[in-house]
């Protein structure tokens, strides 16, 4: 009798485990080249596309200015001696952006989205952060260190600092 209850328990546990892993597998964001997505159009430089995808992963829900600001922070980093000096180097620096760590950067860009425009404005030199190197969402930031940064401005949900 006791053996069977343990067996039932094991079955239930494995079932839960299987469900959990399948769920993770199915919902892990992957690039999809849908026709009409900005990625698939293939125009613009590779830097512009990479920057647009990073902005999309990090600040999809933000205002236009908030999106340009995130792009500007990435570009400011490439010009700072403490960071890698290419756009790809900055974006893919281990642990630098949560959207890269969790694969959000690979989410396809919505055709109506303004992230490509925002990436272009950032590349053309617009910087609403006035030279900031960091940003974080005060509601979700897990790093204690980030709070040691001086806050320069706030745009949307993000604090921007140096």
């Amino acid at each position: 009798m006791k053996f069977k209850s343990i067996l039932t328990l094991i079955i239930l546990l494995t079932l839960m485990f299987t469900l959990y892993t399948t769920f993770n597998y199915v919902f892990y964001p992957r690039p999809m080249m849908l026709p009409g997505t900005a990625l698939a159009q293939g125009n613009g430089t590779s830097d512009e596309q990479l920057l647009a995808r990073a902005i999309n992963g990090e600040a999809r829900g933000e205002s236009y200015e908030g999106q340009v600001a995130v792009g500007a922070v990435i570009l400011n980093r490439t010009r700072d001696s403490k960071f890698p000096n290419t756009i790809a180097g900055v974006i893919y620096q281990p642990g630098a952006f949560t959207a890269v760590s969790d694969g959000q950067i690979n989410v396809p860009i919505d055709t109506n989205s303004t992230v490509v425009k925002a990436a272009r404005d950032a590349l053309n030199g617009w910087d609403p952060t006035n030279g900031c190197l960091y940003y974080w969402n005060p509601a979700t930031a897990t790093s204690k260190w980030i709070w040691s940064r001086q806050i320069i401005t706030k745009i949307g949900k993000h604090n921007f600092g140096i």
Binding site: F83, P94, N124, Q150, I155
Partner: protein, 463 residues
């Protein structure tokens, strides 16, 4: 049937012999699948570990080379040899810095090490350029190299220690990924993070390094030269915002605070417009000194292109004139999404002053100005005392390759990437159907810069 009965029923069914074997098979299958997943994850982790190791060992190698090359550059006696050695030091430190950026430790832990490698590369590159023109290193430059060499040496030592720990299996990169995973987290002293922190400590007393390169420490402290007028408070500066957009279209101006970071100190505002929804707002920064507009950022969908590029160029010029920017000329532009971003440079007499740059973003449907980026202008605009050219145009012409057919000649002040300016002849020429701009220094006759003009339907750009 109640839950209790259902459970009892389930139990009864389990005791069935056939059911029993099915359950065994299921458990077996799940166990197999689990093992497969585990193996797969282990393989991936190993792959990642290998990448990290490669980046690390590469970096150690590059740092060793930088140390040797800096040492050698102090000994070489001919400027050609010095140039060659420093050029290699520049390349090796760039590679070291690149690999440093791949280490799986938070950026701030290695910030000073990264800065050191950037500066060594940048400094070597600057000295390399000097040496190429036959200039010997000065006493001060020797001292700077010696100082940098000392730091390279201690970096090399601490990296060597870390390398031993890695080879001895005392550190695994995977530990970093598992960090913070609740019960599996380790004490910090075992983590590579701690060891890297110790390395970065080497640079705590690292001195400021001043030279003619973009990563030099004096660049960040440069003072803007284009700021005229008195210091204003936020209320007074708001007048510039009203003037910029026009009082008749503004619904509301919200104060977004002030920004004292960097060379140009500003007040920030958010502007809402009378006939536009809240999303089509504008952000604007105005300098605290003099109330100059620093940048404006606004967005709205632009459905169609009606105007030609010449029409919007003229509209932009008109707009700038109306706001007090006289003598501007358009240089390059780019068309995207039914808007054009046009670069305007200041023209003093017959000299185009490229550092005094204003970028204007104009819609191609009705010529509305959506954005301004005037940091270049605000930073460097002034009436310059332009010296007489020491080299004649004809002389300068002979310094350019005869293969290039010259289309036009002009005078220009061009910015360097370390915020100084050069007074040059600007030759526009053609070679193999590609157009070029060649800049010859009016004082030394040096070929300072060559730009390729990209004339595409999307705009005219240089690279």
């Amino acid at each position: 049937m109640g839950i209790r009965e259902k459970l009892l029923d389930f139990k009864r069914r389990l005791s069935d012999r056939k059911m029993y074997s099915i359950v065994i098979v299921i458990i077996g299958a799940v166990a197999f699948w689990g093992l497969y997943q585990y193996k797969h994850a282990a393989n991936l982790r190993q792959e990642l570990d290998n990448q990290y190791n490669r980046a690390f060992f590469d970096m150690v190698g590059y740092v060793n080379n930088v140390e040797t090359l800096l040492m050698k550059s102090m000994i070489t006696s001919t400027s050609e040899r010095t140039a060659a050695t420093l050029q290699e030091a520049w390349r090796q430190s760039n590679l070291a810095q690149e690999n440093l950026g791949m280490m799986p430790v938070p950026q701030h832990i290695l910030a000073n090490t990264s800065k050191f490698l950037s500066q060594v590369g940048d400094f070597s590159y600057t000295l390399n350029n000097q040496s190429l023109y036959g200039k010997q290193l000065s006493e001060q430059e020797y001292q700077q190299i010696e100082q940098l060499h000392g730091y390279a040496l201690s970096l090399q030592e601490s990296l060597g220690e870390l390398q031993n720990n890695l080879s001895g299996g005392r550190i695994k990169w995977g530990d970093l990924a598992n960090k913070g995973a609740g019960i599996f987290s380790k004490t910090s002293s075992e983590l590579p993070e701690q060891q890297f922190t110790d390395i970065d400590k080497t640079f705590q007393e690292y001195p400021t390094l001043i030279y003619d390169g973009p990563f030099s420490d004096h660049i960040t402290t440069a003072e803007p030269m284009g700021l005229t007028g008195d210091m204003l408070n936020s209320e007074q500066a708001k007048q510039s915002v009203v003037n910029f957009f026009g009082a008749d279209v503004i619904r509301e101006i919200n104060d977004r605070g002030k920004n004292d970071n960097g060379a140009i100190k500003t007040y920030s505002y958010r502007v809402l417009f009378k006939d536009k929804p809240d999303e089509e707002d504008a952000l604007i920064d105005v300098t605290q000194k003099g109330g100059h507009v620093c940048w404006v950022l606004q967005n709205r969908p632009v459905p169609e292109s009606i105007l030609t590029i010449d029409q919007v160029k003229a509209a932009g010029l008109e707009f700038l004139k109306k706001h007090g920017y006289e003598n501007m000329v358009d240089t390059y532009y780019i068309k995207e999404d039914n808007t054009a971003t046009i670069n305007y440079a200041y023209k003093q007499g017959d000299v185009t002053v490229y550092p005094d740059l204003i970028k204007v973003k104009i819609t191609l449907d009705n010529g509305e100005v959506l954005g301004i980026e005037a940091k270049g202008y605000v930073f460097s605009h002034r009436e310059r005392e332009i010296p007489e050219a020491k080299i004649s145009v004809d002389n300068a012409r002979t310094l350019i390759t005869p293969r290039m057919e010259i289309i036009s000649t002009g005078l220009a002040i061009i910015p360097t990437n370390y915020k100084t300016e050069l007074f040059c002849y600007e030759f526009k020429g053609k070679l193999n159907d590609r157009e070029f701009l060649v800049y010859i220094n009016t004082e030394t006759g040096q070929e300072e810069r060559i730009l390729i003009i990209l004339d595409t339907p999307g705009g005219i750009l240089t690279m």
